[in-house]
């Protein structure tokens, strides 16, 4: 007999000529229906009964024993070897629409008289758990409502041009547009502003504190001009944000430097509140506040990287490799001569500002707390190429001119704004504004226009092509005793945003006199030549 797997039973086969028997074994199994089997079973029962006649419970025990499951591997599963089986998926109608249809069918079947209200109640209950489905539409509606409320401001932004500028000679004005504030950021001061290059109405605000004694948490907010009443993105940080930079091409990557020395990278596409990279646990972390971060071009392995300067005097390059930030030390700021030799390693030179050249991006400038500006190159890591004695006090901002390859501007707490040619040791232009200058920015539409903000709440706009000695506009834009800390020009629209120490960001429109584009080739060369 052969076991046929196809039919699952033993089948008798006919003796075939070609069959050769390799092995034969007489089995000792007997079919229980056969005569011999019956005889054996009868014998077995006799033996059992014989033993258990006197004690009736014995039979029960014996019977139970016979019933006891044999722990063989065919019908016994030990718990340890069981696998967790997920409950099988019920493939019936699912989803919101089908629930409504089911309800309708149910109500029709059972002839519910209050059909409509029942349906309504159910849909309401079902909907509240699915609110997120209308998130896009709600966003559009919020912007529409805001457009109505701020209609006059929006019209001014688009179309208003101050006609009285013709009669004002060369002076211009700033028209206040929207004010952006977030109530949870009331106690924080604006420390950084950055426009997004891809979406020209989106800008980032970094909030923290400039005071050493008043350090708390920080925030990173993103506002759009289309919705002035509430930020688009909100991120809370453990420590105050000191600086931020948005990547030029990948506008969803934001690098942030914090007061406690950490740098973090946020990805706006992800919905989480946490940064995707954080240098908190990294070994090369800065020991003091990070003052400026700047994104660089992707390195040879196409990894994104950025450079940070910190109050501990180091310039560090951070590379985003898979899931972590890898640091590379670029250079250490030189210690000034007044510090004795034995303390040279201990007392760092606080770097306060950093800017990379627009065309030759290996060349950079670093401003320090002592008022010096150092020019360096990414290719020379041992020393700086040039040192400029710029200010008597802290240098708050240093910026290359976006058009002229040799010109840069610097400002500091010593009330001065100075314009330099990198080949000359002394400044080309010097302006004194009556209080500490906290930020300065070049205009993107002209090589001779720049604006500065001071701690007395004033914005000063200069155009060197028109007037080399005084500002075209000196306007107070915030209420009394509010200090201004940051200013940025929008890359496309004729507006500027300024951040103050109350956590508010004010947007202002430049009047036509401040937006004159130079007709002659490079007007700045002419200016410098004449000086």
């Amino acid at each position: 007999k052969l076991l046929s797997f196809q039919e699952g039973c033993y089948k008798p086969i006919v003796f075939v000529d070609q069959m050769a028997i390799h092995f034969e074994l007489e089995g000792n199994l007997v079919h229980k229906e056969s005569d011999e089997g019956r005889r054996l079973m009868a014998k077995q029962a006799e033996v059992d009964d014989g033993g258990g006649v006197e004690r009736p419970d014995n039979v029960a025990i014996k019977a139970a024993k016979r019933e006891q499951k044999l722990t063989n591997q065919f019908n016994f599963n030990e718990r340890a070897s069981q696998t967790l089986n997920n409950t099988p998926r019920v493939r019936g109608p699912t989803g919101y629409i089908s629930e409504v249809l089911q309800l309708r069918w149910l109500s029709k079947k059972y002839d519910l008289t209050d059909f409509n209200s029942g349906i309504q109640k159910m849909t309401c209950i079902l909907f509240s758990s699915r609110m997120r489905l209308i998130s896009k539409v709600v966003k559009i509606i919020e912007r529409m409502v805001n457009q109505n409320i701020f209609d006059d401001v929006a019209q001014d932004f688009m179309y208003f041009e101050d006609a009285s500028d013709e009669f004002r000679g060369e002076k211009g004005t700033l028209l206040p547009l929207w004010t952006f504030q977030y109530d949870k950021a009331k106690s924080l001061s604006v420390t950084a502003l950055c426009w997004n290059h891809k979406y020209n109405d989106l800008f980032a605000v970094g909030l923290g504190s400039h005071e050493f004694t008043q350090q708390g948490g920080g925030m990173l907010l993103f506002y759009t001009l289309k919705n002035p009443s509430y930020p688009e993105f909100i991120f809370n940080t453990a420590s105050g944000v000191m600086c931020l930079d948005i990547h030029e091409h990948l506008s969803y990557l934001v690098a942030v430097g914090l007061y406690d020395g950490c740098v973090a990278v946020y990805n706006l596409k992800k919905k989480t509140d946490q940064p995707i990279y954080n240098s908190r646990a990294s070994s090369g972390k800065h020991t003091s506040a990070v003052m400026q971060v700047k994104w660089q071009k992707d390195d040879l392995d196409s990894n994104h990287n950025f450079i940070s300067v910190s109050a501990d005097g180091r310039l560090v390059s951070w590379t985003l490799v898979k899931h972590e930030l890898v640091f590379t030390e670029i250079i250490k700021l030189p210690v000034i001569d007044t510090i004795p030799d034995d303390l040279k390693d201990v007392i760092p030179t606080v770097g306060t500002s950093l800017d990379f050249h627009k065309q030759k991006d290996y060349s950079f400038l670093v401003g320090t707390e002592h008022g010096k500006i150092h020019k360096g190159s990414k290719y020379y890591s041992s020393k700086f190429l040039e040192k400029y004695d710029a200010h008597f006090m802290n240098v708050t901002r240093v910026k290359w001119n976006p058009f002229h390859p040799d010109v840069f501007i610097s400002c500091g707490w010593d009330w001065m704004v100075k314009i330099w040619d990198q080949t000359m040791k002394s400044p080309v232009f010097t302006f004194e504004l009556k209080t500490s200058v906290t930020d300065v920015a070049w205009a993107p539409y002209s090589s001779t226009v720049f604006a500065a903000v001071t701690t007395d709440g004033k914005v000063h706009v200069f155009d060197l092509n028109i007037n080399k000695y005084e500002a075209l506009c000196q306007q107070k834009v915030v209420s009394k005793k509010t200090k201004l800390f940051n200013i940025e020009f929008n890359p496309v629209h004729p507006i500027i945003i300024v951040g103050d120490d109350r956590g508010h960001v004010t947007s202002l429109k430049l009047s036509p006199n401040l937006r004159k584009k130079p007709k002659v080739g490079d007007a700045l060369i002419l200016c410098i030549g004449l000086q």
């Binding site: 758990s129 609110m131 997120r132 896009k136 709600v138 989480t272």
Partner: protein, 103 residues
């Protein structure tokens, strides 16, 4: 799953914000079948708005699609003497906000 739940809370918050904006008289959320789901107005007004807006929306959407089949309606504003009705349609729902802009 956490971020999906948070999205729902965010939407609720946004709706509350819209409700508190200057001049907003009411918000109605209506599903694709014309049944109002959420409303800050009284029942009769809600039903009235929902029914009428539904018809207008279908007509407007039909018109946009007729002219260019690849196009679709993003939003509709109906400015009247007393107020402005803003309608924004979505795949399964549409939102109606009534605002008095000059208030």
């Amino acid at each position: 799953m956490l971020d999906i739940e948070c999205a729902g809370a965010e939407v609720e918050e946004t709706i509350k914000r819209i409700q508190s904006q200057k001049g907003v008289q009411g918000i109605i959320i209506v599903n694709a079948e014309g049944i109002p789901i959420k409303s800050t107005l009284d029942n009769s007004s809600t039903v009235q708005y929902a029914g009428n807006v539904h018809q207008l929306l279908m007509k407007a959407r039909g018109m946009v699609r007729d002219i260019d089949p690849q196009n679709d309606l993003t939003f509709l504003r109906v400015r009247s003497k007393k107020n402005e009705i803003m309608i924004a349609p979505d795949k399964d729902y549409f939102l109606i906000v009534i605002q008095n802009p000059t208030e």
